[in-house]
C-alpha cells in the first residue's frame, strides 16, 4: 500500500498550505468569540425580554417558512417527476428560477404592489378610472416576511427533492409496482422515507438562509435575531451584544450543519447502491392535467414572474432613472468580482481537499471542517471581522496593512472568501469522495507525481462539477449585500449596492433597474447550469 511520508518536503508544504488556508477561513469565528469574551466585563444593553422576542420571532418565521417552502418545493417536484401534464418540461426548469430573486427584492415587490395607492391600484385605475383605493392586502409584517422568504427560497427544496425523485427512486417504484403495492402505501412507505434525507438538506438550507436573512425582516420591520444584531449595534452602539446574538444564531446554524452532515452521510450510502432507472411518468388527463399545470404555474408565476413584472413595470414607468446608471461599469464590476473571488475560492478549496485526501491527517480534517463556519455568520459581522482582523495584525506587526486590506478589492475578496469558502470547499469535497482511493494508490505506484495526480487524474473527474460550484459562488456574490457595502473601495458599486441605495431612500422604483440586471445575471447563470442543478 502507498504510505505517506509526512516528512517529505512537499508533504510538509501541502500540510502548511492547507493549515494556513483553513485557519484563515476560521479567523472571523475566532474574532467574534474573542470580542464576545469581553461581554463578561461589560454591561450589555440587551434586556432579557428582547432576546426572548428576537428568538420567538425568528422561530415563528422559521417554522412557517419551512412549512411553506416544503409545500411549494415538494408538491411541484412530485408532480413533475411522476406525472406528465401540460408544460411539464418547461416547469421542470422554470421553477429553479425562483432562486434568482433575492428575498428582499421579492419583499419590495410584494409590499409596493399591495400598498395604499400602490401598483395594484395604479393598474386597476388604468382600466377603470373610478376605482377607489380599497385593494390593500392587510397582511401583517410577519406574514409578508414569511411569504417573501418562502417564495424565494423554496427552490432549494424543489431542487433537492427533484434529484432524489429522479435519480434514486426509479428501481424501488418499479419493484413495488411489480409487487402490486397500493399507491398510498407506495408514497407512505417508499417515496417519503427514501426522499427524506435530501428534503431535509433542502430544509436546512432554507433554515440557514431564513435565520441569517437581514434584508427582508428589516424591510418589513420584524425584530429577529439577525435584525437584533443590527439594532443593538446601530442604536445602542453595543457591538458586544451583536456578537452575543450572532453566537446564538451561529449555534442554531451549526446545529443545522451537523444535521445536514449526518443526513449527507446516509445519502452517500443510498447513492452508491445502484444506478437507478428513470421513472415512467403517468399521463394526466382532463381536470387533473389542468390542476397539475395550474399548481406549477401559480408557484412559478408568484415566485418569478410577479416580482419580475413589477420591476419591468417600474423600469418602464420611471425610465428617467436609466441615465443614473453606469451600466458598463456595474456589469464589469460584477464580472470582475465573480471571476476573482471564485478562482481564488476554487483554488484554495482544491488545494485543501487534495491535501486532506493525501495526508489523511485528523487535525487538518477538523480544522478544514470548521473552516466552513463563515457561511453561518451574518455578512455584516464578517465584514466587521475583516476590518478588525487586519487592523489588529497591522497594529501588532507595526506594518501598514490597513490601506491594502480595508476598503480595497483585496479586503472585499477576503470578505467573500470568509463567507462563501464553505460552498467551494464542501462542493469539491462531496465530489472528491466519489473518486475511489484505489485510483490514487495505483497512480502513485505508477510513479505519478502529486501535481500530475491532481492535474491528470483528479481534475478531469472534478472538472464538470467545478463549473457548477463556480455558478453557485457567483450567484451568492451577485446577491451579496452587507459585505460589499462595508468593505468596498471608493466609487465601487454593484447591482445590489445600487438597488439598496435607492431602496433605502424610498425610491424603490429606481431600485428596479439594478434589481432587474441583478436578476438577469442570476437567471442567465441558472439557465446555463440548469442541467447540473437537476442532475447533481
Amino acid at each position: 500500500m502507498f504510505k505517506i511520508n509526512y516528512y517529505s518536503k512537499d508533504n510538509l508544504l501541502i500540510f502548511f498550505l492547507v493549515l494556513a488556508i483553513s485557519a484563515m477561513a476560521i479567523t472571523p469565528l475566532f474574532s467574534i468569540i474573542i470580542s464576545l469574551l469581553k461581554i463578561f466585563f461589560l454591561n450589555s444593553s440587551l434586556d432579557g425580554k428582547f432576546l426572548f422576542e428576537y428568538i420567538r420571532n425568528s422561530f415563528d418565521i422559521l417554522f412557517f417558512v419551512i412549512i411553506l417552502t416544503s409545500i411549494f418545493g415538494i408538491i411541484p417536484s412530485f408532480l413533475i417527476s411522476f406525472f406528465s401534464f401540460w408544460g411539464v418540461n418547461f416547469f421542470k426548469y422554470a421553477l429553479i428560477l425562483s432562486l434568482a430573486i433575492p428575498p428582499y427584492i421579492f419583499g419590495y415587490s410584494l409590499s409596493s404592489f399591495f400598498e395604499n395607492y400602490g401598483t395594484a391600484y395604479s393598474l386597476l385605475k388604468f382600466f377603470s378610472p373610478n376605482i377607489g383605493n380599497n385593494l390593500t392586502l392587510n397582511l401583517s409584517a410577519k406574514t409578508m416576511t414569511i411569504i417573501s422568504l418562502s417564495f424565494s427560497l423554496f427552490g432549494y427544496i424543489y431542487l433537492l427533492s427533484m434529484t432524489t425523485f429522479n435519480n434514486q427512486l426509479g428501481n424501488y417504484i418499479e419493484m413495488s409496482k411489480t409487487l402490486g403495492i397500493s399507491k398510498f402505501r407506495m408514497i407512505k412507505s417508499i417515496i417519503l422515507p427514501l426522499s427524506r434525507p435530501a428534503i431535509f438538506i433542502g430544509i436546512s438550507l432554507v433554515a440557514m438562509e431564513t435565520l441569517s436573512d437581514f434584508g427582508t425582516a428589516s424591510f418589513f420591520g420584524i425584530s429577529t435575531l439577525t435584525t437584533g444584531i443590527y439594532n443593538s449595534w446601530f442604536i445602542f452602539d453595543d457591538i458586544q451584544t451583536s456578537n452575543l446574538l450572532s453566537i446564538v444564531l451561529l449555534g442554531f446554524i451549526l446545529f443545522l450543519f451537523y444535521v445536514e452532515n449526518k443526513f449527507q452521510k446516509k445519502k452517500k450510502f443510498h447513492d452508491s447502491s445502484y444506478k437507478s432507472k428513470k421513472i415512467k411518468p403517468k399521463e394526466l388527463k382532463g381536470f387533473y392535467n389542468f390542476l397539475a399545470f395550474f399548481v406549477c404555474f401559480l408557484i412559478f408565476f408568484i415566485s418569478f414572474i410577479f416580482p419580475l413584472l413589477q420591476m419591468i413595470y417600474w423600469s418602464i414607468i420611471h425610465s428617467n432613472y436609466f441615465y443614473n446608471f453606469d451600466l458598463l461599469a456595474l456589469n464589469l464590476n460584477t464580472l470582475f468580482l465573480i471571476l476573482t473571488t471564485s478562482s481564488i475560492l476554487l483554488t484554495f478549496a482544491f488545494l485543501c481537499n487534495f491535501g486532506n485526501r493525501l495526508l489523511k491527517n485528523n487535525f487538518l480534517n477538523i480544522i478544514s471542517n470548521l473552516s466552513i463556519s463563515g457561511y453561518a455568520i451574518p455578512g455584516i459581522l464578517i465584514s466587521i471581522a475583516v476590518i478588525t482582523i487586519f487592523s489588529t495584525i497591522s497594529d501588532l506587526l507595526n506594518i501598514e496593512l490597513k490601506s491594502v486590506f480595508i476598503g480595497s478589492f483585496i479586503g472585499l475578496v477576503f470578505g467573500y472568501f470568509f463567507r462563501f469558502y464553505s460552498i467551494a470547499f464542501n462542493g469539491i469535497k462531496s465530489n472528491y469522495l466519489k473518486i475511489n482511493y484505489q485510483i490514487d494508490e495505483s497512480g502513485y505506484l505508477l510513479g505519478l507525481s502529486k501535481v500530475k495526480m491532481f492535474l491528470k487524474v483528479h481534475f478531469p473527474i472534478l472538472k464538470r462539477n467545478t463549473f457548477f460550484i463556480f455558478i453557485l459562488i457567483s450567484l451568492e456574490i451577485i446577491k451579496e449585500l452587507p459585505i460589499t457595502l462595508i468593505l468596498r473601495p471608493f466609487n465601487f458599486e454593484t447591482f445590489s449596492t445600487k438597488a439598496f441605495e435607492y431602496a433605502s431612500q424610498d425610491l424603490i422604483e429606481a431600485a428596479a433597474l439594478p434589481s432587474l440586471f441583478l436578476v438577469l445575471w442570476t437567471t442567465i447563470l441558472i439557465l446555463f447550469s440548469s442541467k447540473y442543478f437537476l442532475k447533481k
Binding site: Y117, G221, N231, T347, I384, K402, I406, D506
Partner: protein, 338 residues
C-alpha cells in the same frame, strides 16, 4: 491566479494614488448628492470619491483605519449620528469663517456642520378632520384620548423617531416624556410598519387619522416623481406643523465633518464651503426637497406651498438628539413601540 492577484494589487494601489481628490464617506444615498460632487469637480478640478453605507459600519471602518484612513469627510443624515461620530473622536475641528457665518449656530458645532434640514411633521386628511380644529396641535397632544386608534408612525428603530423623542426628553424631561409615550403608543392605529411614505398613504386612504413623517417624503410624492397614484394620494393629505405657538416644529439635519486624519484637509474644507454655496443649496433643495441650511435661499415651489406655516424649533440644539437617543430608544421599547 497570479495574474489576477497582481491585477487586484495594481488596481487597489492605482486607486489610492491619485492626488487632486477628496474621499467622502456618506450615509446619504441621494442622486442629487452625486450631481453636487460632479459639479464641484467641474468647478475646482477636485474629484470626489465616494463610499456610501450605513453609519455604524462606516464608523467602525474609519476607527479601525485610524491614521491610515484615506477618508476626508463623513456625511451623515441625522444629528444623533453626527454626535455619535463626534464622541468617538472621528472629526477634527476646522476653521472657516464662511461656514460659521452661513450656518446658524444651533445647526452646527466645532466639529460638524449642518448642510440640509428637514422637519418631522403631522399629516391629516381634511376629508375626515376639520383643519380649524387641529391647527394648533402640538406633539404633546398626540397622547390625548381623542386620538385613540388614529396615529400612523414608523417603527422605533427609525433614527428620526428616536431624535423626535429625544427632543421631547430635552424639552419635557424624561418622566413626562415617558408618560406621554405610554398614551401615544396606545393611540397607534396599528403596529408600526413601513416607511414614512406608507404612513402618509394610510392617512390618504382613511385608515389612520394622523401620520408623522418627514417633509421631503410628502414633497416627493406631491411632485409626481413617484408616479401619478402617489401624487393623487398626496393631494388628499395636508401638512400640519406642530408646536407653532410655542418652541416650534422639530427639525433634523444632514451634516458633515472633516475626519481627524484627513489627508486632503484643504480640499475637504473647500468642498464644505461649496456645499453651503447658493448653487449647491438650491440644487439640494430642488432635488431632495430638504430645506436649505443657509437662510434666504430660494426653495422649490412645492416646498414653499407646504411650508407656509413652518416655524422651526430653534431653541432645541440638534446635538442633544445624540445625547438622548439611547435613552429615547429604551423608553420607546419599554412602552412597546416595536
Amino acid at each position: 491566479m497570479f495574474f489576477i492577484i497582481s491585477f487586484v494589487l495594481f488596481f487597489s494601489i492605482f486607486q489610492s494614488s491619485l492626488s487632486n481628490e477628496i474621499n467622502l464617506y456618506t450615509t446619504r444615498h441621494y442622486e442629487a448628492d452625486y450631481e453636487i460632487y460632479r459639479k464641484f469637480q467641474n468647478i475646482t478640478g477636485i474629484k470626489v470619491n465616494v463610499v456610501s453605507g450605513k453609519s455604524k459600519p462606516l464608523e467602525k471602518r474609519i476607527i479601525e483605519e485610524g491614521k491610515n484612513c484615506k477618508g476626508d469627510l463623513f456625511f451623515l443624515a441625522d444629528a444623533g449620528r453626527l454626535y455619535s461620530a463626534e464622541k468617538k473622536n472621528l472629526f477634527q475641528k476646522i476653521k472657516s469663517s464662511l461656514l460659521n457665518e452661513k450656518i446658524p449656530t444651533h445647526l452646527r458645532n466645532d466639529y460638524w456642520y449642518g448642510i440640509t434640514k428637514r422637519a418631522r411633521i403631522i399629516f391629516y386628511n381634511p376629508e375626515y378632520i376639520n383643519s380649524e380644529k387641529i391647527k394648533n396641535l402640538n406633539y404633546e397632544d398626540l397622547g390625548n384620548k381623542e386620538w385613540n386608534d388614529s396615529i400612523a408612525i414608523r417603527q422605533s428603530n427609525n433614527v428620526y423617531n428616536q431624535s423626535l423623542v429625544a427632543s421631547l426628553i430635552y424639552n419635557l424631561g424624561e418622566k413626562k416624556t415617558s408618560e406621554w409615550l405610554e398614551n401615544f403608543v396606545n393611540n397607534f392605529y396599528k403596529t408600526p410598519m413601513g416607511n414614512d411614505r406608507a404612513q402618509i398613504l394610510a392617512v390618504a386612504a382613511g385608515e389612520a387619522k394622523l401620520a408623522i413623517a418627514n417633509t421631503y417624503y410628502y414633497a416627493l410624492m406631491l411632485s409626481g416623481k413617484k408616479g401619478k397614484s402617489q401624487q393623487e394620494a398626496a393631494k388628499k393629505v395636508k401638512p400640519l406643523f406642530p408646536n407653532k405657538n410655542n418652541r416650534g416644529t422639530h427639525i433634523n439635519i444632514s451634516g458633515i465633518g472633516v475626519l481627524k486624519h484627513s489627508p486632503n484637509k484643504i480640499n475637504a474644507i473647500k468642498f464644505l464651503e461649496f456645499l453651503v454655496s447658493e448653487e449647491a443649496q438650491i440644487h439640494l433643495s430642488k432635488n431632495s426637497f430638504e430645506y436649505p441650511i443657509v437662510e434666504n435661499i430660494e426653495i422649490p415651489e412645492i416646498l414653499k406651498l407646504i411650508s407656509k406655516e413652518f416655524k422651526e424649533d430653534k431653541d432645541t440644539p440638534v446635538e442633544i438628539y445624540g445625547k438622548f437617543q439611547t435613552r429615547s430608544f429604551n423608553l420607546m421599547l419599554e412602552k412597546k413601540w416595536n
